[in-house]
Amino acid sequence: MKAPQENAPPRSTFPPGPRGAGLTRQALRRHRWALLGPFATQCLAATVITAMLTTSWSLSAARLTPDQRHALAATDIADAAGVFTGNAVYLSILMVGVTMTAAIARQARDIALLRAVGATPGQIRRSVARQAAIVAVPAAALGFPLGLAAGWAWLAALTDHGLVPAAVGYEPALLALPIVIGIEVVTSVVGALVAAIRPSRVPPATAMSESATRRPAGSAVRTTVGLVLLAGGAVLSAVVSGLAADQADDAALFVILAMCIGVGLLGPVLLGAAARLARPLLRAAGGTGRLAGDTLVSQSRALSSALIPLVLAGSFAGVKVASHTTAAHVTGVSDPAADIWLDYAGTAVFVAFAAVGALNTLLAVSVGRQRDLALMRLAGATRARVLAVLTCEAGMVLGTALVLAAGVALATLVPLIHTALHTWTPHVPPAHLAFAVLAGAAVVGAGTVLPAAVLTRRPAIESIEGPP
């Protein structure tokens, strides 16, 4: 049979700009709020990369005496800048991926329609990548001046801590702008392409039929891969305990990453289990509690993308802080203040990324549930009741995230401190733990209860009668 499309003149299947499939334009207009997540992530990454690039350049351009130069080389500053930049790059890929997943979920209907009328999975993936790249340019441009300010502050702080001689002046370099935009476009495209793999392959019929849009909580493949990652993290952690302290520290990050992604994949199963475990407690809260338990199970797949950044932030910060506090507790001697400060600054950047990712994912889920909330109110729930259900749900998400973060942190930390300090029990001051719980509650609350409070201000019927 003659395939007609092969005889036709060559067709451009990937035309740049507005002549594309139309999905990019549709998404940028209709779902622009959903793209706020990737935007915030890219902006943060651009800020960190700009700050690190400009301070590194300032350091190397400074006129210093050979002694000062030698002293500077002996510190970890140059290494730290490299590590921060590297972290910003891979966190940008990971978090753009996570936030784009939420943005793509809002476009499920548009994607199904385009797939039905002839868009290949590759065309959908390219459109999603294009959206991320288009958003990356203004995000990086906004992050650049913020990064200049952060770079100036960073250098001042380094000087204050005596890590850098006072002779070094901050030099904002405009050359960093194209580099930062370039890095952000590339990392966003990579993150978006990975995020688009599965949604681009969903059979159009599945996404189109109203009732079949909810998939079962945990597929066998997803659960298996999640378990393998968790087991791999545990094995790596055991291996790490036999390594020298330096190497152990480097490997710890991979333990955390593997376990966090594993936790994310097992998210639906874990949240379901949390709802079951909390059932006696929920029953005490009456109808509100039962409703919260049911909705947690039904939303578990969407919410589990928020578990990855929450657990990542919690466990990473936990490992960093606890390794210092345990060392001080066991040996009675604190690390040098400048070292601790440098380590905590890096942790703060890491946690900021994860918090932005978690917040955006939760916001996207909350906005996507607008109709559900309106239906609850039309069925007779007061606004206070709706918010009580959501608070209950947020509490369960926070509890699950904290328990998992503590688990991952312990699995990573215990071998580390055993190698370095020959003890099995980490020590963390209660004030630090309380701060972690409050910070987690602030992120989860701001991503769930706060948007619901705003969205339920208008009459429920308006939320039901959305555009077609």
């Binding site: 207009r29 199904a112 385009l114 009328v117 002839g118 290949t120 065309q123 392959r201 059979p203």
Partner: protein, 264 residues
């Protein structure tokens, strides 16, 4: 470009453009899942207008999705315009839909932020058959939207939107148009107009239409009536008058005592 089906090419009038053999579709897990479609075999000749009816949950949308290559059956095989769409690669099936098939759904037919023209040209812009400007204008005129090409579809009424969807389905001169409750969200007058457009495409251009509907008046425009009950094809006849359709639909919609729990 000549795109209308010719003799000797798949899709020519008189050929079978759709062949389903022993098609079953199960949703859910391997054990305990639900069979939405069971052992359906049928052939559709090019240039005919087929209506598929049945009660809610009888499997009519599933039948349409499997026939159109939007979903993969669990059992059996589907040949569409001469291509086996059950085993072909996803990209191959997608290109077949883009180049030879048109779709009209009940709702969510259009990208709301694009214009009429951009929506109608979607398959073409995705790499499908090129549509000359004159052909686009002729199609828009045929559906009563002449001169409205640059209007954003967000501004249109429900009936106008559905006519945009019909224009998109027909503009590439497809071999088969699949329509899932195309008049479900429209009033009877507006609905009749949309059905008339599909009927014209069959009579004038030799297009094949497979349409799912629950409305006997809508089904009346077809040549052939298929009735489903609990996922099985239970009747396949020439389309009777509206009263006849309603009576047959009522008969297959009656509570089903025997068949529900029986696996395919």
């Amino acid at each position: 470009m000549e795109r209308a089906p010719r003799a000797g090419q798949p899709g020519a009038v008189g050929d079978d453009v759709l062949e389903m053999d022993g098609v079953g579709r199960r949703y859910g897990p391997d054990r305990g899942g639900v069979w939405a479609l069971r052992d359906v075999s049928l052939r559709v000749r090019a240039g005919s207008y087929v209506a598929v009816m049945g009660a809610t949950g009888s499997g009519k949308s599933t039948l349409l999705h499997c026939a159109a290559g939007l979903d993969r059956p669990t059992l059996g095989s589907v040949r569409l315009v001469g291509r086996d769409v059950t085993r072909a690669r996803e990209a191959t099936v997608t290109r077949l839909r883009r180049d030879r098939i048109g779709f009209v759904f009940q709702s969510y037919n259009l990208l709301s932020e694009l214009t009429v023209r951009q929506n109608v040209l979607l398959p073409s812009r995705l790499g499908g058959p090129r549509v000359p400007a004159a052909q686009l204008e002729a199609t828009l005129e045929a559906v009563g939207l002449a001169g409205m090409g640059r209007r954003p579809v967000g501004e249109l009424s429900g009936g106008q939107r559905q006519r945009v969807a019909v224009a998109r389905a027909l503009v590439t001169r497809p071999a088969v148009v699949f329509a899932d409750e195309p008049t479900g969200a429209l009033d009877p007058t507006t609905g009749a107009r949309v059905l008339g457009l599909l009927r014209d495409a069959v009579d004038r251009d030799g297009v094949t239409v497979v349409m799912v509907t629950h409305d006997p008046a809508a089904a009346r425009v077809s040549d052939r009536l298929l009735l489903l009950r609990s996922g099985r094809l239970v009747a396949d006849t020439a389309t009777p008058d509206v009263a006849g359709i309603a009576a047959r639909l009522a008969a297959v919609s009656a509570p089903d005592e025997a068949g529900l729990a029986v696996p395919a």
